[in-house]
Amino acid sequence: MRVFQQSFKFLALTVLVFLSTTVYAQSSHHEDGGQIDTREEVDAYIAHHLQDSHDFTFFSYTNDEGERKHAGFPLPMILWSSEGLVTFMSSEFHHNDDGHVIVEKNGLKFAKIHSKIYELEAGATAVNFDAEHHATNGARVLDFSITKSVVGILVIGLLMFFWFVRLAKQYKTKTIPTGFGRVLEPLVLYVRDEIARPNIGEKHYRKFTGYLLTVFFFIWLLNMVGLTPLGFNVTGQIAVTACLAIFTLIIYAVSGNKDFWMHILWMPGVPILIRPILAVIELVGTFIIKPFSLLVRLFANITAGHTVIMALIAIMFVMKDTLGVAGATGLSFILSVLIMFIEVLVAFLQAYIFTMLSALFIGMAVAEHDHEHDHKIVDTEDVRSDFV
């Protein structure tokens, strides 16, 4: 992990300048992580990374006194408990993630286990779990904290806002943007001309271009940030992807026209008896399966990508004994570089697919069926000329 941490340092410093926030080292009293060598530790580390974090940690190390140090910043905790709103800084948990540190606020006790905050019942000193892993003497609280993912969302949101408002301002004085705007403009045009326009249709696409552009850049940039050693995993949070999918669902449900609803509820052109069955299928498909596939696809791709990269990096430690230090490091390096290329592609592809499918679903909702089921004979020459 040392080598990895060294590379972390450089990037962390760059980011620090960018964020212009002070890093402070903080000692933790409890052993979490420490040296990671075995397969189980790697598994735990990966599982830990995939979850949202309440601290912003750039890197951790063990100092000469054997203390575990974390460089990063604490983030504010905003909890909706049984007694109302409770706020404190995440540093009060001292980087503990297994429920050993109990924070007392407003007479309530909170424990953090695997990035989930539990409110303990009166008198309890630790969270107990039953066989199904449900807490028996505590309850999860609503956690509106500014977690690492929220920081990621805020940073990317501000970045997007800054970039594109600057691009918009450039157009006031010149017709062709200069500098970074020259990179952004083709991307905007790409989303508009390759995603929004063909899938939604010439007539309606203008209304939805703004949403599609926002979602495209949001997902893409967050995917890319997830590939940096900063350790963001925002698009791998099921809550984030669910939110995005539900936005798409709401948009196409709200903008759906009469035809769209008729095709769902009372499909024309099929026998009457089949229509209610089709309606059930269509309702499930439109309101559950489509958004579910959207959210799961993004979540699973990013999670799988992060898992694979971290597993390949872990080859360095796990196979140190069988392959030797140089062999393990070399193998790990080559494989992770290769998979990183694929992940950069996937980062774009997932943003593209999410936007594209959103556009497709919206297009299906606003499409105008002017043919009214009289099967028009398609002129083969027209079809051919469309292709050529």
């Binding site: 979850q51 949202d52 909706w80 989930k116 892993h133 609503l142 956690d143 509106f144 904290s145 500014i146 977690t147 993912s149 929220v150 969302i153 805020l154 949101g157 997007m160 806002f161 594109f164 408002v165 691009l167 918009a168 157009y171 006031k172 017709t175 403009e185 905007v188 045009l189 508009r192 203008r206 271009t209 703004g210 949403y211 552009l213 926002t214 949001f218 949070q237 099921i238 809550a239 984030v240 669910a242 939110c243 995005l244 539900i246 936005f247």
Partner: protein, 166 residues
């Protein structure tokens, strides 16, 4: 599915919803609307310029075609004019020749007529002069002859002899 639901954080979902709504609103208002409208404007400008260029090109071509046509017409006209002039010339020459011929014939006929009449007149005059001359001569001879009675008789005699002979 169990782990998935367990990992779902409602708090993060709520925060993300608020932030995404805010982001969409701000981006649409301050970024996408101006960007898309200026892009559309630019595209329309480019399209307009292209259309104008195409129109100018077509007009130019039309103009050229017109010029060509005019030139062609002028050439044709010139040719017809030359042809006409040539025809006129030959015609005039032919006409002049014919007229001259007619005139000449006419003059010849007139001249012949004049000659004939002159000849007749001359003959008539000659006849009358000859007659007069003959008479005069005859008168003179007669007078001469008749001045002598013998001679007169002789003459009558001869004449009578002659007449009997006839």
């Amino acid at each position: 599915m169990e782990t998935l639901l367990n990992d779902f954080s409602p708090g993060l979902f709520a925060v993300q919803t608020v932030l995404l709504l805010l982001l969409i609103f701000l981006m649409v208002k301050f970024a996408w609307k101006p960007i898309i409208s200026s892009l559309t404007e630019r595209e329309e400008g480019i399209q307009g310029a292209l259309d104008a260029a195409e129109k100018a090109r077509r007009e130019m071509a039309n103009l050229q075609a017109d010029n060509q046509k005019l030139l062609q017409e002028a050439r044709l006209e010139r040719e017809t004019m030359i042809k006409e002039a040539r025809e006129l010339k030959t015609k005039m020459i032919a006409e002049a020749e014919a007229e001259a011929q007619v005139q000449a014939n006419k003059m010849i006929i007139q001249a012949q007529a004049a000659i004939e009449s002159e000849k007749k007149a001359a003959m008539a005059e000659l006849k009358s002069q000859v007659a007069g001359l003959s008479l005069e001569i005859a008168e003179k001879v007669v007078r001469n002859e008749l001045s002598n009675k013998d001679k007169q008789l002789e003459l009558v005699e001869s004449m009578l002899g002659e007449a009997t002979l006839n």
